[in-house]
């Protein structure tokens, strides 16, 4: 008697993280954004090997030269190679984006967690301080902080990080308020877990997803903010390369050396666009309504 054999597909149980990554991988925009971000990160890391010239090397015989085979992106007002400066400039932008968001996360998450978990007077106090910080427009607060701290890339990162902190406080607080009434948190409390353990082991891991999305979008905002502060002369100081400070110089030569402005601006645009695409994709992948 003939027997029929079926190869039944084996369904492997995927973790929520794996399911999220699968959903993310299906989003072409997010993947494109991720690819460009990786490209920029590689460019920043391997800048010494990728850049054709020293970004600080001046050449009086090659002042404001249009793009040629020798200088693909042309040269600037003192003969420096624009391509080399764009490649090195990626370091300042990515560093500013990552460091300032790390500052915001390391300040905002614990404060938001405390406000949401403890509640009452602590929550009221933190919420009012957050409202006060949010009332000051992001860039204006960053400019004021950078002005009082003094102009430098480090101070710009601190200023951007502090200015973006209230968004993370508010987001963490809102998430904690929603999670802390869940049954599993009640159960953890009922079996006698201490508050710190409940907050860190049972609540924090469940509020991470929206924080990742916000962090990705905040990197995009921080890259623009660093470029803005450097454009105003409050970020990376010359002669160190930064896309914002390159644009500041370029605006004075726009009529006879437009290439000086095109490439650094395009780099900021591409990097910010990529982080925004990635952030949008992450939000869609993490949104339960999309499942």
């Amino acid at each position: 008697m003939a027997t029929l054999a079926f190869d039944l597909p084996v369904y492997r149980e995927l973790s929520p993280g794996q399911r999220m990554l699968r959903r993310l991988a299906r989003r072409r925009g997010a993947m494109l954004g991720l690819a460009v971000v990786v490209l920029f990160v590689a460019m920043a890391i391997f800048a010494p090997w990728l850049s054709p010239y020293d970004p600080l090397q001046t050449s009086w015989s090659a002042v404001r030269k249009a793009p040629t085979a020798a200088h693909w992106f042309g040269t600037d007002e003192i003969g420096r190679d624009v391509l080399s400066r764009v490649i090195w400039g990626a370091r300042a932008s990515l560093l500013a984006g990552l460091v300032s968001v790390c500052i915001s996360l390391s300040l905002g998450v614990p404060i938001g967690l405390a406000a949401g978990y403890i509640g009452r007077g602590v929550d009221a106090l933190i919420s009012r301080i957050t409202d006060a910080m949010l009332a000051c427009p992001f860039l204006i607060l960053a400019i004021a902080l950078a002005a009082f701290l003094g102009p430098s890339l480090t101070n710009a990162m601190i200023a951007i990080g502090i200015s973006a902190t209230p968004i993370f406080i508010r987001l963490t607080r809102a998430q904690v308020l929603a999670v802390k009434v869940e049954d599993y948190v009640e159960a953890a409390r009922a079996v006698g877990n201490p508050h710190l353990r409940i907050a860190l082991r049972h609540i924090l891991p469940n509020v991470v997803a929206p924080l990742i999305v916000q962090a990705t979008l905040a990197i995009a905002a921080a890259v623009i903010a660093e470029a803005s502060l450097s454009f105003l002369g409050l970020g990376q100081q010359p002669p160190a390369p930064s896309w914002g400070s390159m644009l500041n110089t370029a605006k004075n030569y726009i009529d006879n050396a437009p290439w000086m402005a095109v490439w650094p601006g395009l780099s900021i645009f591409l990097l910010v666009l990529s982080f925004n695409l990635l952030g949008d994709g992450l939000r869609d992948a993490l949104d339960p309504r999309q499942r």
């Binding site: 006060a132 644009l247 370029a250 925004n276």
Partner: protein, 313 residues
């Protein structure tokens, strides 16, 4: 109604208090003796002594805050060290220029953003929707100072149609004023248009799915009437409130735009103050913008409350 107003007003008092502490605290970030730093590079002993007395630097910190806050409540935001003018006077002098820029930017943002949002929602998942979303991403990702430089390159340097910089008062020459303001207003409005487009799209999608829109369609009304009269009118209410939150983006953007186009407004005032180490002006501008932001949000909340009958019940 009055209960809501009292509650809403009560929340802004502590917020303003913390704003004042934050801005007063900025001064404490200055390394060393504030009087020496505030006196500028000359460090004239008479100026240093005058500042020490004026800022009450011999007093403990809480007392200094009380003196400062007392002055602010009376409208004294300090005096510019560089220009020797009261800060409030300087702000009020520059404000009309920035207000004109901001109003033009909002007009452009609403015209582009709301239209794109409506088109995107009505033709959901079409090429129009796709194009509107690309536009929103473009607006959110373009640094406005770069966009400004590129527009100068195109319209001033290459085509010669518009002036690259400068400001002419509308009372002197309206045509020249509009020619000078159109590019900066577009630059400033571009990012806000992107935000408005996203808000309008999501509000319209929600409204277009609702029962009363289905009823309006079932009655045989023209689709244009359904969209513009029935749906858009309701969708715009949350958009207006969310739009008020963009005031901060507008002012932040104005700082950079005014710098690119050399417009003597509010934004240029703070940047010049930073480079002249005119810290009282920096503090004054931040305080003024924060207070304006809080007031505007209060007004938006009240307006939302007034136009939404469900909240009044």
């Amino acid at each position: 109604m009055s209960n809501y107003l009292i509650q809403r007003l009560a929340t802004i008092v502590p917020t303003l208090f913390f704003v004042s502490i934050l801005i007063f605290g900025l001064q404490q970030l200055l390394p060393g003796d504030p009087a020496m730093i505030l006196a500028g590079e000359e460090r004239d002993p008479t100026v240093v002594a005058h500042l020490r007395e004026k800022l009450h630097l011999d007093q403990p910190l809480p007392m200094r805050y009380l003196y400062w806050a007392g002055g602010v409540l009376k409208g004294d935001l300090g005096e510019s060290q560089r220009i020797q003018k009261p800060v409030l006077e300087l702000i009020l002098e520059k404000l009309p220029v920035t207000l004109e820029l901001a109003c033009l930017a909002i007009l452009i943002a609403v015209a582009i953003g709301v239209t794109a949002g409506v088109v995107s929602a009505v033709f959901r998942d079409s090429v129009w929707d796709y194009a509107a979303n690309v536009f929103a991403l473009w607006g959110l990702s373009t640094p406005n100072f770069w966009l400004g430089i590129m527009l100068i390159l195109l319209f001033s340097v290459t085509l010669g149609w518009l002036p690259a910089s400068g400001y002419v008062s509308p009372f002197e020459d309206l045509k020249a004023n509009l020619a000078a303001m159109i590019m900066p207003a577009f630059v400033l409005g571009n990012a806000i248009a992107a935000v408005l487009m996203r808000h309008t799209r999501s509000a319209m999608l929600q409204v277009l799915d609702s029962d009363y829109v289905r009823t309006a369609r079932a009655k045989g009304l023209d689709e244009r009437v359904v969209v513009l009269k029935h749906a858009l009118r309701n969708a715009l209410t949350p958009v207006i409130t969310l739009g008020a939150l963009e005031f901060g983006t507008l002012l932040s953007g104005a700082v950079l735009t005014e710098q690119v186009f050399t417009i003597p407004g509010f934004g240029k005032l703070i940047v010049d103050a930073v480079f002249n180490r005119d810290y009282a002006v920096v503090q004054g501008v931040v305080l003024f913008t924060a207070t304006a932001y809080i007031t505007l949000n209060l007004l938006a909340d009240i307006a939302y409350f007034l136009v939404n009958p469900r909240l009044r019940d």
